[in-house]
Protein backbone atom coordinates (compact mmCIF):
# COMPACT_ATOMS: atom_id res chain seq x y z
CA UNK A 1 0.00 0.00 0.00
CA UNK A 2 1.40 3.40 -1.00
CA UNK A 3 0.11 6.34 1.03
CA UNK A 4 0.67 9.95 -0.03
CA UNK A 5 0.61 12.54 2.74
CA UNK A 6 0.29 15.99 1.20
CA UNK A 7 0.72 19.27 3.08
CA UNK A 8 -0.59 22.46 1.52
CA UNK A 9 2.12 24.93 2.49
CA UNK A 10 2.99 28.60 2.14
CA UNK A 11 1.47 31.94 3.02
CA UNK A 12 -1.49 33.43 1.17
CA UNK A 13 -2.57 37.08 0.80
CA UNK A 14 -5.63 37.79 -1.37
CA UNK A 15 -5.69 41.61 -1.10
CA UNK A 16 -3.69 42.59 -4.24
CA UNK A 17 -2.35 45.85 -2.79
CA UNK A 18 -1.08 44.15 0.33
CA UNK A 19 0.29 41.20 -1.61
CA UNK A 20 2.23 43.57 -3.89
CA UNK A 21 3.48 45.57 -0.92
CA UNK A 22 4.45 42.45 1.04
CA UNK A 23 6.97 41.22 -1.46
CA UNK A 24 8.87 44.49 -1.22
CA UNK A 25 9.18 44.69 2.56
CA UNK A 26 12.24 42.86 3.90
CA UNK A 27 11.08 41.80 7.35
CA UNK A 28 7.63 40.80 6.08
CA UNK A 29 9.22 38.69 3.35
CA UNK A 30 11.65 37.10 5.79
CA UNK A 31 8.96 35.81 8.12
CA UNK A 32 6.81 34.73 5.18
CA UNK A 33 9.67 32.64 3.84
CA UNK A 34 10.24 31.09 7.24
CA UNK A 35 6.58 30.12 7.62
CA UNK A 36 6.52 28.73 4.08
CA UNK A 37 9.55 26.59 4.86
CA UNK A 38 8.10 24.88 7.92
CA UNK A 39 7.25 21.22 7.47
CA UNK A 40 3.87 19.77 8.42
CA UNK A 41 4.54 18.20 11.79
CA UNK A 42 0.99 16.87 11.78
CA UNK A 43 1.62 14.76 8.69
CA UNK A 44 5.01 13.58 9.97
CA UNK A 45 3.11 12.34 13.02
CA UNK A 46 0.50 10.69 10.78
CA UNK A 47 3.36 9.01 8.94
CA UNK A 48 4.70 7.65 12.22
CA UNK A 49 1.27 6.28 13.08
CA UNK A 50 1.09 4.40 9.79
CA UNK A 51 1.60 0.64 10.04
CA UNK A 52 5.03 -0.46 8.83
CA UNK A 53 3.60 -2.49 5.98
CA UNK A 54 2.52 0.67 4.14
CA UNK A 55 4.90 2.90 2.19
CA UNK A 56 4.54 6.55 3.17
CA UNK A 57 5.44 9.47 0.87
CA UNK A 58 5.50 12.98 2.38
CA UNK A 59 4.89 15.86 -0.04
CA UNK A 60 4.56 19.63 0.34
CA UNK A 61 2.55 21.63 -2.16
CA UNK A 62 3.01 25.40 -2.15
CA UNK A 63 0.25 25.79 -4.71
CA UNK A 64 -2.16 23.49 -6.44
CA UNK A 65 -1.73 23.34 -10.20
CA UNK A 66 -4.96 21.86 -11.57
CA UNK A 67 -3.16 20.79 -14.76
CA UNK A 68 -0.27 18.99 -13.08
CA UNK A 69 -0.28 15.20 -13.19
CA UNK A 70 -1.37 13.49 -10.00
CA UNK A 71 1.24 11.34 -8.31
CA UNK A 72 -0.24 7.87 -8.00
CA UNK A 73 -1.10 6.64 -4.51
CA UNK A 74 -3.46 4.03 -3.08
CA UNK A 75 -4.55 6.41 -0.36
CA UNK A 76 -4.06 10.15 -0.03
CA UNK A 77 -4.10 12.17 3.20
CA UNK A 78 -4.22 15.95 2.87
CA UNK A 79 -3.71 18.54 5.59
CA UNK A 80 -4.14 22.27 5.14
CA UNK A 81 -4.67 25.49 7.00
CA UNK A 82 -7.91 27.37 6.40
CA UNK A 83 -6.57 29.82 3.81
CA UNK A 84 -5.39 26.98 1.52
CA UNK A 85 -8.40 24.76 2.18
CA UNK A 86 -10.07 25.43 -1.17
CA UNK A 87 -6.87 24.30 -2.90
CA UNK A 88 -6.84 21.21 -0.70
CA UNK A 89 -10.44 20.50 -1.64
CA UNK A 90 -9.66 20.92 -5.35
CA UNK A 91 -6.76 18.48 -5.06
CA UNK A 92 -8.92 16.04 -3.10
CA UNK A 93 -11.68 16.26 -5.70
CA UNK A 94 -9.20 15.47 -8.47
CA UNK A 95 -7.81 12.43 -6.65
CA UNK A 96 -11.30 11.16 -5.92
CA UNK A 97 -12.34 11.66 -9.55
CA UNK A 98 -9.32 9.55 -10.50
CA UNK A 99 -10.52 6.78 -8.16
CA UNK A 100 -8.12 7.34 -5.26
CA UNK A 101 -9.52 7.42 -1.74
CA UNK A 102 -8.86 10.71 0.05
CA UNK A 103 -8.65 11.48 3.76
CA UNK A 104 -8.75 15.05 5.07
CA UNK A 105 -7.65 16.07 8.53
CA UNK A 106 -6.18 18.89 10.58
CA UNK A 107 -7.43 22.02 12.27
CA UNK A 108 -9.83 23.32 9.64
CA UNK A 109 -11.34 19.89 9.09
CA UNK A 110 -11.86 19.52 12.84
CA UNK A 111 -13.58 22.89 12.99
CA UNK A 112 -15.64 22.43 9.78
CA UNK A 113 -16.21 18.67 9.47
CA UNK A 114 -19.40 18.75 7.41
CA UNK A 115 -17.84 21.03 4.80
CA UNK A 116 -14.70 18.88 4.58
CA UNK A 117 -16.69 15.66 4.31
CA UNK A 118 -18.00 16.84 0.93
CA UNK A 119 -14.48 16.49 -0.48
CA UNK A 120 -13.24 13.33 1.23
CA UNK A 121 -13.88 9.64 1.59
CA UNK A 122 -12.97 9.98 5.23
CA UNK A 123 -12.20 12.82 7.61
CA UNK A 124 -10.16 12.74 10.81
CA UNK A 125 -11.15 15.04 13.64
CA UNK A 126 -8.80 16.17 16.45
CA UNK A 127 -5.41 14.45 16.73
CA UNK A 128 -4.43 11.65 14.38
CA UNK A 129 -3.48 9.60 17.46
CA UNK A 130 -6.15 7.05 18.12
CA UNK A 131 -7.65 7.39 14.64
CA UNK A 132 -5.10 6.91 11.86
CA UNK A 133 -3.92 3.34 12.59
CA UNK A 134 -7.57 2.21 12.64
CA UNK A 135 -8.29 4.14 9.44
CA UNK A 136 -5.44 2.52 7.53
CA UNK A 137 -6.51 -0.88 8.75
CA UNK A 138 -10.11 -0.20 7.63
CA UNK A 139 -8.88 1.02 4.26
CA UNK A 140 -6.78 -2.12 3.84
CA UNK A 141 -9.83 -4.30 4.11
CA UNK A 142 -12.02 -2.03 2.00
CA UNK A 143 -14.08 -0.78 4.91
CA UNK A 144 -13.14 2.89 5.18
CA UNK A 145 -15.60 4.81 7.32
CA UNK A 146 -16.55 8.44 6.61
CA UNK A 147 -15.49 9.88 9.96
CA UNK A 148 -12.82 9.09 12.53
CA UNK A 149 -12.30 10.88 15.82
CA UNK A 150 -8.78 11.00 17.17
CA UNK A 151 -7.76 11.64 20.74
CA UNK A 152 -8.21 14.98 22.46
CA UNK A 153 -6.22 14.01 25.51
CA UNK A 154 -3.36 11.67 26.39
CA UNK A 155 -1.78 12.13 22.97
CA UNK A 156 1.74 12.28 24.39
CA UNK A 157 1.36 9.20 26.60
CA UNK A 158 1.93 5.58 25.67
CA UNK A 159 0.55 3.80 23.75
CA UNK A 160 -0.75 6.82 21.80
CA UNK A 161 2.51 8.75 21.50
CA UNK A 162 4.68 8.32 18.42
CA UNK A 163 7.85 10.12 17.41
CA UNK A 164 7.20 12.06 14.17
CA UNK A 165 8.95 10.66 11.07
CA UNK A 166 11.63 13.35 10.75
CA UNK A 167 13.51 11.06 8.38
CA UNK A 168 10.96 11.98 5.70
CA UNK A 169 12.47 15.50 5.66
CA UNK A 170 15.86 14.28 4.46
CA UNK A 171 17.00 16.08 1.31
CA UNK A 172 14.56 18.93 1.81
CA UNK A 173 15.91 22.36 0.80
CA UNK A 174 15.07 24.01 4.14
CA UNK A 175 16.81 23.57 7.48
CA UNK A 176 13.85 24.55 9.67
CA UNK A 177 12.43 21.70 11.68
CA UNK A 178 9.43 21.81 13.96
CA UNK A 179 9.09 19.88 17.20
CA UNK A 180 5.98 20.01 19.33
CA UNK A 181 6.25 20.07 23.12
CA UNK A 182 2.61 20.83 23.88
CA UNK A 183 -0.88 21.13 22.43
CA UNK A 184 -3.36 23.73 23.55
CA UNK A 185 -3.04 26.85 25.66
CA UNK A 186 -4.81 27.70 28.92
CA UNK A 187 -5.45 31.30 27.81
CA UNK A 188 -8.20 30.26 25.35
CA UNK A 189 -8.29 33.53 23.38
CA UNK A 190 -11.53 34.06 21.47
CA UNK A 191 -9.84 34.30 18.07
CA UNK A 192 -7.44 31.36 18.46
CA UNK A 193 -7.65 28.72 15.76
CA UNK A 194 -4.54 26.86 16.81
CA UNK A 195 -4.03 23.52 18.54
CA UNK A 196 -6.36 24.41 21.39
CA UNK A 197 -9.21 23.44 19.05
CA UNK A 198 -7.80 19.90 18.81
CA UNK A 199 -7.54 19.22 22.51
CA UNK A 200 -9.82 19.01 25.51
CA UNK A 201 -7.09 20.20 27.88
CA UNK A 202 -3.50 21.45 27.79
CA UNK A 203 -1.25 18.55 26.75
CA UNK A 204 2.48 18.50 27.44
CA UNK A 205 5.14 16.09 26.29
CA UNK A 206 7.80 14.86 28.70
CA UNK A 207 11.13 16.68 28.45
CA UNK A 208 12.81 13.38 27.75
CA UNK A 209 10.61 12.83 24.67
CA UNK A 210 11.18 16.36 23.39
CA UNK A 211 14.94 15.99 23.64
CA UNK A 212 14.80 12.59 21.99
CA UNK A 213 12.83 14.06 19.05
CA UNK A 214 15.32 16.89 18.70
CA UNK A 215 18.25 14.50 18.64
CA UNK A 216 16.52 12.44 15.96
CA UNK A 217 15.59 15.47 13.88
CA UNK A 218 19.18 16.74 13.97
CA UNK A 219 20.28 13.68 12.06
CA UNK A 220 18.16 14.73 9.08
CA UNK A 221 19.62 18.08 8.16
CA UNK A 222 22.82 20.03 8.69
CA UNK A 223 22.58 23.03 11.04
CA UNK A 224 18.86 22.70 11.73
CA UNK A 225 17.02 25.64 13.27
CA UNK A 226 14.24 24.38 15.49
CA UNK A 227 10.82 25.93 15.80
CA UNK A 228 8.80 24.57 18.68
CA UNK A 229 5.34 24.08 17.20
CA UNK A 230 3.63 25.16 20.39
CA UNK A 231 1.11 27.84 21.14
CA UNK A 232 2.45 28.56 24.60
CA UNK A 233 5.58 26.65 25.58
CA UNK A 234 6.25 27.97 29.08
CA UNK A 235 2.88 27.56 30.74
CA UNK A 236 4.55 25.31 33.29
CA UNK A 237 7.72 27.10 34.40
CA UNK A 238 9.14 24.12 36.31
CA UNK A 239 8.79 21.91 33.22
CA UNK A 240 10.16 24.77 31.10
CA UNK A 241 13.33 25.05 33.16
CA UNK A 242 13.86 21.30 32.94
CA UNK A 243 13.51 21.54 29.16
CA UNK A 244 15.93 24.47 28.92
CA UNK A 245 18.53 22.67 31.02
CA UNK A 246 18.21 19.74 28.66
CA UNK A 247 18.52 21.90 25.56
CA UNK A 248 21.58 23.89 26.67
CA UNK A 249 24.23 21.20 26.05
CA UNK A 250 22.84 20.47 22.56
CA UNK A 251 24.13 23.74 21.11
CA UNK A 252 20.91 24.49 19.21
CA UNK A 253 19.41 27.65 17.80
CA UNK A 254 15.67 27.70 18.27
CA UNK A 255 12.42 29.66 18.41
CA UNK A 256 9.12 29.27 20.19
CA UNK A 257 5.82 30.91 21.07
CA UNK A 258 5.00 31.77 24.66
CA UNK A 259 3.33 34.42 26.77
CA UNK A 260 4.70 37.46 28.56
CA UNK A 261 4.83 35.71 31.97
CA UNK A 262 8.28 34.34 31.17
CA UNK A 263 9.58 37.81 32.02
CA UNK A 264 8.56 37.26 35.67
CA UNK A 265 11.13 34.55 36.12
CA UNK A 266 14.78 35.63 35.95
CA UNK A 267 16.07 32.09 36.27
CA UNK A 268 13.96 30.97 33.33
CA UNK A 269 15.15 33.91 31.23
CA UNK A 270 18.79 33.10 31.96
CA UNK A 271 18.23 29.46 31.06
CA UNK A 272 16.41 30.55 27.91
CA UNK A 273 19.42 32.56 26.76
CA UNK A 274 21.86 29.78 27.69
CA UNK A 275 19.82 27.21 25.76
CA UNK A 276 20.34 28.95 22.41
CA UNK A 277 16.85 30.40 22.09
CA UNK A 278 17.06 33.08 19.40
CA UNK A 279 13.54 34.38 19.59
CA UNK A 280 10.26 34.07 21.43
CA UNK A 281 7.02 35.06 19.74
CA UNK A 282 4.53 36.69 22.09
CA UNK A 283 0.99 37.77 21.30
CA UNK A 284 0.57 41.27 22.75
CA UNK A 285 -2.42 41.81 20.45
CA UNK A 286 -2.76 45.53 21.25
CA UNK A 287 -0.72 48.12 23.14
CA UNK A 288 -3.64 49.57 25.12
CA UNK A 289 -5.20 47.66 28.04
CA UNK A 290 -8.72 48.80 27.16
CA UNK A 291 -8.43 47.18 23.72
CA UNK A 292 -7.81 43.78 25.29
CA UNK A 293 -11.13 43.50 27.12
CA UNK A 294 -12.79 40.21 26.30
CA UNK A 295 -9.84 38.75 24.39
CA UNK A 296 -9.52 35.82 26.78
CA UNK A 297 -12.06 34.58 29.34
CA UNK A 298 -10.10 35.60 32.44
CA UNK A 299 -8.84 38.95 31.18
CA UNK A 300 -5.25 37.72 31.61
CA UNK A 301 -3.78 39.67 28.71
CA UNK A 302 -5.54 42.85 29.74
CA UNK A 303 -4.13 42.56 33.26
CA UNK A 304 -0.62 42.01 31.92
CA UNK A 305 -0.55 44.79 29.33
CA UNK A 306 0.79 47.41 31.74
CA UNK A 307 4.02 45.41 32.03
CA UNK A 308 4.57 44.87 28.31
CA UNK A 309 7.40 47.37 27.85
CA UNK A 310 9.34 46.38 30.94
CA UNK A 311 8.91 42.68 30.12
CA UNK A 312 10.13 43.05 26.54
CA UNK A 313 13.21 44.85 27.77
CA UNK A 314 13.92 42.14 30.35
CA UNK A 315 13.71 39.35 27.78
CA UNK A 316 15.65 41.13 25.03
CA UNK A 317 18.42 42.21 27.41
CA UNK A 318 19.31 38.51 27.64
CA UNK A 319 19.98 38.46 23.90
CA UNK A 320 16.70 36.63 23.22
CA UNK A 321 14.73 38.63 20.69
CA UNK A 322 10.99 39.13 21.01
CA UNK A 323 8.71 38.84 18.01
CA UNK A 324 5.76 40.95 19.14
CA UNK A 325 2.40 40.13 17.59
CA UNK A 326 -0.38 42.64 17.17
CA UNK A 327 -3.89 42.16 15.85
CA UNK A 328 -5.67 44.98 14.05
CA UNK A 329 -9.44 45.36 14.04
CA UNK A 330 -10.26 44.39 17.63
CA UNK A 331 -13.63 45.71 18.77
CA UNK A 332 -12.14 48.66 20.66
CA UNK A 333 -9.82 49.67 17.84
CA UNK A 334 -10.40 52.96 16.04
CA UNK A 335 -8.26 54.38 13.22
CA UNK A 336 -5.87 55.64 15.90
CA UNK A 337 -4.66 52.10 16.49
CA UNK A 338 -2.22 52.13 13.59
CA UNK A 339 -0.20 55.01 15.02
CA UNK A 340 -0.49 53.51 18.50
CA UNK A 341 1.04 50.23 17.35
CA UNK A 342 3.79 52.11 15.53
CA UNK A 343 4.55 54.15 18.66
CA UNK A 344 4.59 51.03 20.82
CA UNK A 345 6.95 49.23 18.44
CA UNK A 346 9.27 52.25 18.52
CA UNK A 347 9.17 52.57 22.31
CA UNK A 348 9.55 48.88 23.01
CA UNK A 349 12.37 48.40 20.50
CA UNK A 350 10.96 45.02 19.61
CA UNK A 351 13.41 43.22 17.41
CA UNK A 352 10.70 41.67 15.25
CA UNK A 353 7.06 42.53 14.77
CA UNK A 354 4.17 40.57 13.35
CA UNK A 355 1.02 42.49 12.48
CA UNK A 356 -2.09 40.68 11.30
CA UNK A 357 -5.75 41.49 10.96
CA UNK A 358 -8.32 39.99 13.33
CA UNK A 359 -9.47 36.83 11.57
CA UNK A 360 -12.63 34.94 12.46
CA UNK A 361 -11.58 31.43 11.47
CA UNK A 362 -14.64 29.25 10.91
CA UNK A 363 -15.44 27.18 13.99
CA UNK A 364 -13.87 29.57 16.52
CA UNK A 365 -15.77 31.45 19.26
CA UNK A 366 -14.93 34.70 17.45
CA UNK A 367 -16.51 33.46 14.22
CA UNK A 368 -19.67 32.43 16.05
CA UNK A 369 -19.94 35.82 17.77
CA UNK A 370 -19.38 37.87 14.62
CA UNK A 371 -21.89 35.69 12.76
CA UNK A 372 -24.45 36.34 15.52
CA UNK A 373 -23.76 40.05 15.26
CA UNK A 374 -24.12 39.97 11.46
CA UNK A 375 -20.57 41.28 10.95
CA UNK A 376 -19.10 38.65 8.64
CA UNK A 377 -18.64 39.91 5.09
CA UNK A 378 -20.62 37.81 2.62
CA UNK A 379 -18.43 36.10 0.05
CA UNK A 380 -15.26 36.48 2.12
CA UNK A 381 -14.99 32.82 3.04
CA UNK A 382 -12.24 30.57 4.38
CA UNK A 383 -9.82 31.28 1.52
CA UNK A 384 -9.61 34.85 2.81
CA UNK A 385 -8.64 33.70 6.30
CA UNK A 386 -5.03 34.55 5.55
CA UNK A 387 -4.51 36.81 8.59
CA UNK A 388 -3.97 39.70 6.16
CA UNK A 389 -7.38 39.94 4.45
CA UNK A 390 -10.37 41.56 6.16
CA UNK A 391 -13.34 39.20 6.36
CA UNK A 392 -15.56 41.04 8.85
CA UNK A 393 -16.87 44.51 9.61
CA UNK A 394 -14.87 46.04 12.48
CA UNK A 395 -16.70 47.95 15.19
CA UNK A 396 -14.59 51.09 15.41
CA UNK A 397 -13.76 51.79 11.77
CA UNK A 398 -14.74 50.97 8.21
CA UNK A 399 -13.31 48.00 6.33
CA UNK A 400 -11.42 50.28 3.94
CA UNK A 401 -9.95 52.20 6.86
CA UNK A 402 -8.69 48.96 8.37
CA UNK A 403 -7.17 47.88 5.06
CA UNK A 404 -5.53 51.23 4.41
CA UNK A 405 -4.30 51.52 7.99
CA UNK A 406 -2.74 48.09 7.86
CA UNK A 407 -0.98 48.97 4.61
CA UNK A 408 0.35 52.18 6.17
CA UNK A 409 1.56 50.32 9.23
CA UNK A 410 3.28 47.68 7.10
CA UNK A 411 5.21 50.40 5.27
CA UNK A 412 6.14 52.04 8.58
CA UNK A 413 7.45 48.98 10.41
CA UNK A 414 8.68 46.60 7.72
CA UNK A 415 10.78 48.98 5.62
CA UNK A 416 14.53 48.60 5.11
CA UNK A 417 15.46 51.39 7.50
CA UNK A 418 13.38 50.01 10.37
CA UNK A 419 14.71 46.52 9.67
CA UNK A 420 18.29 47.78 9.85
CA UNK A 421 17.62 49.68 13.07
CA UNK A 422 16.25 46.53 14.68
CA UNK A 423 19.30 44.57 13.57
CA UNK A 424 21.59 47.24 14.97
CA UNK A 425 19.71 47.25 18.28
CA UNK A 426 20.16 43.50 18.55
CA UNK A 427 23.88 43.80 17.88
CA UNK A 428 24.23 46.44 20.59
CA UNK A 429 22.47 44.11 23.05
CA UNK A 430 24.87 41.30 22.14
CA UNK A 431 27.86 43.60 22.62
CA UNK A 432 26.59 44.78 25.96
CA UNK A 433 26.23 41.18 27.11
CA UNK A 434 29.82 40.27 26.16
Amino acid sequence: MRIGLIAMSGVRVRNPALAALGVTLPQFVNRGEVIASLPSLGLLTVAALTPDAAEVCYREMSEHDPDAALEPFDLVGISSFTAQMNEAYALADRYRAAGTKVVLGGLHVTLMPDEAALHADAIVLYGAEGAWPRLVEDFGRGALRPRYEGLRTGVFEPPNYVKPRFDLLAGRPYNRITVQTSRGCPLDCEFCAASIRLTSSFQQKSVERVLDEIRTAREVTEHPFFELADDNTFVNKKWGKELLRGLAPLGLRWFTETDISIADDDELLDLLADSGCGQVLIGFESPEAADLAGIDPTGWKQKRSGQYLESIDKIQSRGVTVNGCFILGLDHHTPEIFQQVKDFVDRSRLLEVQVTVLTPFPGTPLHRRLAREGRLIAGHGPDRCTLFDVTFRPQGMRVDELEAGMEWLFREIYNENEFNQRKRHYMEIVKKKM
Binding site: N30, N175, E222, H223, F225, G251, R253, G278, Q279, G319, T321, E416, N420, Q421, K423, R424, Y426, M427, E428, V430, K431, M434
Partner: protein
Protein backbone atom coordinates in the same frame (compact mmCIF):
# COMPACT_ATOMS: atom_id res chain seq x y z
CA UNK B 1 47.80 37.83 4.46
CA UNK B 2 46.55 40.81 6.44
CA UNK B 3 47.83 41.44 9.95
CA UNK B 4 44.53 40.82 11.70
CA UNK B 5 43.52 37.83 9.61
CA UNK B 6 44.93 35.13 11.94
CA UNK B 7 43.24 36.67 14.98
CA UNK B 8 39.95 37.00 13.06
CA UNK B 9 40.11 33.35 12.04
CA UNK B 10 40.85 32.44 15.63
CA UNK B 11 37.94 34.53 16.95
CA UNK B 12 35.51 32.95 14.50
CA UNK B 13 36.85 29.49 15.25
CA UNK B 14 36.19 30.05 18.96
CA UNK B 15 32.77 31.44 18.19
CA UNK B 16 31.65 28.67 15.90
CA UNK B 17 33.53 25.71 17.29
CA UNK B 18 34.76 24.90 13.77
CA UNK B 19 38.35 25.22 12.67
CA UNK B 20 38.40 28.12 10.21
CA UNK B 21 42.17 28.40 9.86
CA UNK B 22 42.15 26.97 6.35
CA UNK B 23 38.91 28.44 5.06
CA UNK B 24 39.11 30.46 1.87
CA UNK B 25 38.75 34.22 2.27
CA UNK B 26 35.79 34.20 -0.10
CA UNK B 27 33.94 31.32 1.52
CA UNK B 28 30.43 32.27 2.63
CA UNK B 29 30.70 31.94 6.42
CA UNK B 30 26.97 32.21 7.03
CA UNK B 31 26.40 29.23 4.78
CA UNK B 32 29.46 27.32 5.92
CA UNK B 33 28.54 27.60 9.58
CA UNK B 34 24.80 27.22 8.99
CA UNK B 35 24.04 30.50 10.72
CA UNK B 36 20.51 31.86 10.91
CA UNK B 37 20.07 35.62 10.57
CA UNK B 38 20.40 36.27 14.30
CA UNK B 39 23.52 34.15 14.58
CA UNK B 40 24.99 36.17 11.70
CA UNK B 41 24.31 39.39 13.57
CA UNK B 42 25.83 37.97 16.76
CA UNK B 43 28.98 37.19 14.83
CA UNK B 44 29.18 40.74 13.50
CA UNK B 45 28.52 42.18 16.96
CA UNK B 46 31.35 40.14 18.43
CA UNK B 47 33.71 41.28 15.69
CA UNK B 48 32.70 44.89 16.22
CA UNK B 49 33.44 44.61 19.92
CA UNK B 50 36.71 42.73 19.45
CA UNK B 51 38.14 45.15 16.86
CA UNK B 52 36.38 48.37 17.88
CA UNK B 53 34.87 48.79 14.45
CA UNK B 54 31.33 49.35 13.19
CA UNK B 55 29.78 47.64 10.20
CA UNK B 56 27.46 49.73 8.09
CA UNK B 57 23.85 49.27 9.21
CA UNK B 58 22.55 49.26 5.65
CA UNK B 59 24.97 46.49 4.65
CA UNK B 60 24.78 44.13 7.60
CA UNK B 61 23.53 41.33 5.40
CA UNK B 62 26.53 41.63 3.10
CA UNK B 63 29.39 40.86 5.50
CA UNK B 64 29.55 37.14 4.91
CA UNK B 65 33.17 36.31 4.03
CA UNK B 66 36.54 36.82 5.67
CA UNK B 67 37.49 39.18 2.88
CA UNK B 68 34.41 41.34 3.40
CA UNK B 69 34.98 41.46 7.15
CA UNK B 70 38.70 42.17 6.81
CA UNK B 71 37.88 45.09 4.55
CA UNK B 72 36.18 46.69 7.54
CA UNK B 73 38.53 45.78 10.35
CA UNK B 74 41.69 46.51 8.32
CA UNK B 75 40.54 48.81 5.53
CA UNK B 76 43.89 50.27 4.45
CA UNK B 77 45.31 46.81 3.79
CA UNK B 78 42.30 45.83 1.70
CA UNK B 79 42.68 48.87 -0.54
CA UNK B 80 46.18 47.91 -1.69
Amino acid sequence: MQELEPSLRSLLTNLSGKDLSGVDRDEDLVELLGMDSLAGLRMLAMIEKAYSVRFRDDRLHSYRTLRQILAVIEPEEEEE
